[in-house]
Structures are given as C-alpha cells and as structure tokens.
Amino acid sequence: MPTVRLQISPTPAQVRTARLVAAAVARRSGLAGGALDEIRLAVGEACSRAAGLHQEYAPSDLITVLLEDEGEFVVTVRDCAPTGMHTEHIDPLAFLTDVGNAQHPVTGVIPSGFGIAVIDGLVDDLEVVPADSGPGTVVRMSWPLTTGVECGRTRR
C-alpha cells in the first residue's frame, strides 16, 4: 500500500503540486540534501511528460503519482496516454540540429521526450514500462533510504 497516492489534473500548476508533495514525503522519510533535489526534479520531469501527453490524448483523465517509503523511496507516475508515447531517450543535444521530433508545448524547441533523458541522467534506478492494465506508461524511480547519505544513489 503506497504511503501517499496522489491524482492530479494534467496542468502545469498540478505538476508543481506533485513535485512539492513528493519532496515533502521524501523529507519525512529521512531523505535530505542532494537526494531531495533529485526527487523534486525527477518527479517534476515525469509529471511534466505525463501532463503533456494527457493534454494531447487524455485531457479529462488524471495522472496518478504513488509515493512509497518502505525500504526505499519509490515514486511511480502513471499516465493514461497511448502506451509507450515519448519514452525514448532523446539525445539532449539533438534538438539543436532541428530533428523531427514532436516539439514541447511550452518551449517549442525541446522534444517532448527530453524529460526521460533528464530523469535517466538523474536516477540510476529507473524503469519506463507499459501499464499493467489499460493504456498508459509507468515511470518508476527509486532512491535508497540510507540514513546519513546526502545523495544516496545506488547503481543496479
């Protein structure tokens, strides 16, 4: 059973809400320093990706964010867009050469799949998989709950 289950509408304001809630729960779970920064950024990227997809494919559906802190701190973000959208790891520099990827709705420059590349650079324990049931993709990230480690990351 998750420690916190959050459902947000696919808007930029609620992406911020999810980010703040995730950081608050992580702090209560004993994480600090650099790990908190990683969690804020990674959750924001995962939810931004999901919100962008929902605005395009499922604007009335909610994005689900699960936060668990038993043994490790696990964040799961599930979207309801067609499975596998924007899950590719885009070369962060590719957009400078005007590649033909879908453009980000806000920046108009960066490809929409860019967020996954950022998460991949931040989080060693990352899974991007199809949802168990129905359409959608699950982004799962975890951080070890190790007391006294400022930026606890493990390579798996």
């Binding site: 931004s48 860019f114 650079g121």
Partner: protein
C-alpha cells in the same frame, strides 16, 4: 515560489536577472520575456541565474530557444550560475557544451566568446 524577472542594460549587454522556479508552470513567462527582448533589438543577453531555486527541462528548452534567437541575429546568450544543483542539469543534458556559463555577471560581461 513563482518566477521573478528583471532586466537592465549595461553597455552592449542586456542582463536578465531571474529568481525563483523555472518550470513548466513559469517557463512561458520567461519565454515571452526573451522573445520580447530579442524582438526589440537586445541581441547580447546575460541571463543571471544566481537566484534561481529550481530549473527543469522546460526551462532549459526556453533558454535554448533564447540562444537560437540571439544567434539568428549574430548575438550571444551567456549564463551566470554558480549553484551546483542548477549546474547539474546542464551537465546531465550536455548543455554545458552549448552555453557559456560564468560565475558572475562581471565575468560574463568581460568574456570575449
């Protein structure tokens, strides 16, 4: 925390000082500011990020968009940032190869790149 923006001109440079969080919620405001500056003839920008508390990929995209716009006018966009947590996202994405990043506004103004 919301985004704060202020601009000032020093010599040939327009300095854009940013505070707060640059994310998917606030990035459109920064994008509009950069577009307005370039449209009004400010082609040598220094973006002071020392008071930025959070930056995500959407914010990076806006900065890249600004860089593309000034380059179209043979201009420049230099960043000022010494905060490790902000610099980290530039390193992760490889954008340290794209942006000139300085530790202070004075250093950015004195640069000759």
């Amino acid at each position: 925390m919301d985004l704060s923006l202020s601009t000032r001109t020093e010599g040939a440079h327009t300095i854009v000082a940013i505070g707060g969080e640059i994310d998917v919620y606030t990035a459109p405001k920064l994008r509009e500011q950069l577009i307005d500056l370039v449209s009004n003839g400010s082609h040598h920008l220094i973006v002071d990020m020392e008071a930025v508390e959070f930056l995500d990929s959407t914010g990076l995209g806006v900065l890249v968009g600004g860089l593309k716009r000034v380059r179209a006018h043979d201009g420049s966009l230099r960043l000022v940032c010494s905060q490790e947590r902000i610099l980290k996202i530039f390193r992760i994405t490889g954008l340290t190869k794209v942006f000139s990043i300085y530790a202070s506004v004075d250093e950015a103004m004195a640069a000759t790149d």
